[in-house]
Amino acid sequence: MNLVYEKFKEVAQTLLPVVILVMILCFTIVDVDTSVIVRFLIGSVMLLIGLSVFLWGVDLAMNPIGEHMSHEIATSRSIYKIGILSFLLGFLVTVAEPDLLVLGQQIQAASGGTVSASLIVYVISFGVGIMISLGIFRLLRDRPLNIFMAITYSIIIGLGVFVSEEFFAISFDASGATTGALTTPFVLAISLGLSTVKGGRKSEENSFGLVGIMSAGPILAVMLMSIISGQKHIQGTAEAWAPAQGVLGPILSALPAIFLESIVALAPIAILFFIFNFAKFKLAKDEMVQVLKGLSFTLLGLTLFLTAVNSGFMDMGRIIGMELAAMSPWLLIGIAFMMGLIVVLVEPAVHVLGQQIEEVTSGHIPVKLIRMTLSIAVGTAIALSMVRIVVPAVKLWYFVIPGFVIAILLSLRSDPVFVGIAYDAGGVASGPMAATFVLAFAQGAAAVIPTANVLVDGFGVIAMIATAPVLSINLLGTIFRHKKVEYPELEKKEKVPTSHLLEERDMLHKCIIAVVDRGFAEKAIEVAREAGASGATILRGRGTDEHQKVKLPIINIELQPEKEIVLFVTREQVSGAIANSLLSNEQLAGDGKIKVFISPTEAMAETFVVPKQMESEPDPAPAETE
């Protein structure tokens, strides 16, 4: 029952503040129709159920699919195959994204039909495909992410000078549309899978960043399209808005369409997986059933979630925005900040990212800290967007360009793991909640304020939400790095001779556990092998140590150093020698802070070369072995 309960609790904790804030507003200053309030409450319950179910589905289906796919990519030896495969992955996942088609239609309408919606969708998907395959090459080749992103965003900033403000905003909105509820978890899983398959010292920092790289694709594509086609201004206005009537009617009428959209969005991932499963993976029946269950949960959860957000939350956001803007700009900005603080935590991808951070760093990077940073960043971003809506002289690029320039500079000095998380967070924060609830709120405000343009200012909010986390988490990473214990670089490893297998059976064995600081496990194994050990298994964990205690000021979060635990099973005769040589190695003892534990009793061990007879002979009781 545990996991069900946990997921519900997690979602409820993030959703509750939003509901409370909206309810307080409804009963004090904002005058909202009762039917809208009831719809919002029903929507909240649906969102709670939908998001929890969706998150299980992602656990069950997306993660294994991502794992198998990335294994397939990483182990294919040909550079072309890797390139084509990863391009296809990015292209197909994006092309099916429903939000993108909506965006395409908006641009088509705005440009008076000169650019067709499907062309826009293909161009953007093409951009994503290219970026994903570049990103995967970067990962496999171990090129530093911060340099890669610095180059990418420099190009974006350079192009940004040439495009009009409208298209500047639209290009960021396109990136928000591609990093939808479904694509983000999938790409995160791919990135995690690749980095675990690849392994190595950089596997931790390689687990992040692919979403960030991917979200740069649409920005580049739209900007280039605007420059090439000469399209500068948007003529259209946002469609007229009227609140939906009734309580259950709008929810029920939205459901089928959203269900179809969700199927379409999920289809490419599922089909790609089935093709590969048929041709390559050939999963066992059990596993297949798990994945199928997961896919259905994902579909069900996504449908519920999107319906709830679209029909329950959007009208509410719009009305609050309109009413507040009519009252006082200061109130609008203040409430916008509070809204940003809490709404971002309801984004599905934020949960997925948080879980991944915990898995990858074994809890070394506190998820709480990342969430807090995200909250403050998005709150500030939405508040600043409101400033922009109220004061027309303030342009979008005043914030976005300096934001990215500072973020790039910081990323050069920031902790490498954080750079990936930061760029990912940009894509993650601009998910479906931002695209509906927050966007409607901004558009409502813009509709009331005469100097604002509903369409352009609406797009601008997404751009701001995408920028702020990149900046703030890079900043956090810079602070983290200075607070953190430094791990010295390992000396170049010499070729280790292949392990000699144990030949004797009925040997007495000992279990040795060595705990070292992160990065020293390979060294420990090397030393142990010289002393006669054979295989070893490495676990990743975090530890506490009086000398290495680091606390972040003010918020009082303790940073625990990362540890690696190496498990050896060795013959009794050599165990002492191994332990001694591990401890006497200067580098391990000094920098690696090694601790060695030996199990003093004989471990009854069956090592892998034990011949068949083992089965016929029952295991001797421990007393007899001695």
Binding site: M1, N2, L3, V4, E6, W56, L60, A74, R77, L140, R141, D142, K198, G199, G200, S203, Q290, E359, S362, G363, C511, I513, E522, I525, G535, A536, T537, L539, R540, G541, G543, T544, D545, I565, L567, G576, A579, N580, L583, K595, V596, F597, I598, S599, P600, T601, A603, M604, E606, F608, V610, P611, K612, M614, E615, P618, D619, A621, P622, E626
Partner: protein, 223 residues
């Protein structure tokens, strides 16, 4: 009894390990290491909808014998480990090695452990099968930990080392059942074949929160 220390393993739900470690350090434990694992659920309903995993944290504290008993008492009292589904704790005699140290072989004869911890290391993906086998032979549950083997570099087009992913299964079980579980896992997973994985057991001197012998734990029995 001089040279025998213990490593105390505590397996609890995610997020609880820090609190336990803090308390343990107040009692005098020097340092602890935490890693993440997955527990197993045994429920037909949850299996049907695909919820067979729970997230766990495993906390490893090295301590002297006396301290270890105190820690067990603490876990029992403050963290309610003796209640069902709150987590388990067990201690394995280990010696913190110092150069030139000798093992006190005699002390080991007196251990006479009541439980054993069976550790199986297999390739990734086979851990579930391991649990199945262990269950079939009477084990109550197990904890899966993801790790990696020390791989031999393989040359690909990229300077790419494929690290073999491993799964480590911990099963704590009473002395009487150990042989059966071991044999079942060994035969079911064909560990006899080279490269199929290894299995070994470690003695457990004290447990808290193991459901199969709750009566004993409530007395706080040692050994």
């Amino acid at each position: 009894m001089i040279d025998i220390d213990t490593l105390l393993f505590v397996i609890v739900n995610r997020g609880k390990a820090n609190a336990i470690l803090k308390k343990a350090q107040e009692l005098g434990a020097a340092s602890g290491t935490i890693f993440l694992g997955e527990g197993t659920v045994q429920s037909k309903l949850l299996e049907a909808i695909g919820l067979t995993e729970t997230h766990k944290e495993i906390l490893m504290i090295s301590s002297s014998r006396d301290l270890c008993s105190q820690l067990h008492a603490l876990l029992n009292k403050e963290f309610m480990l003796s209640k069902r589904n709150q987590g388990i704790a067990f201690s394995i005699p280990f010696t913190q090695w110092q150069p030139g140290r000798k093992l006190d072989e005699e002390a080991l004869d007196n251990l006479n452990p009541s439980h054993y911890c069976i550790i199986t290391i297999v390739d990734k993906g086979r851990g579930k099968a391991c649990i199945k086998a262990a269950r079939a032979a009477g084990a109550r549950g197990g904890t899966l930990i993801h790790g990696r083997g020390a791989g031999i570099p393989t040359d690909f087009y990229f300077p790419l080392v494929i690290e073999p992913q491993k799964e480590i299964l911990l099963v704590v079980s009473a002395k009487e059942k150990v042989a059966a579980i071991q044999n079942k896992i060994f035969t079911d997973l064909e560990l006899g074949k080279p490269g199929h994985g290894i299995l070994f057991t470690l003695p457990v001197t004290q447990t808290t929160g193991l459901y199969e012998n709750r009566a004993e734990e409530s007395k706080g029995a040692v050994l």
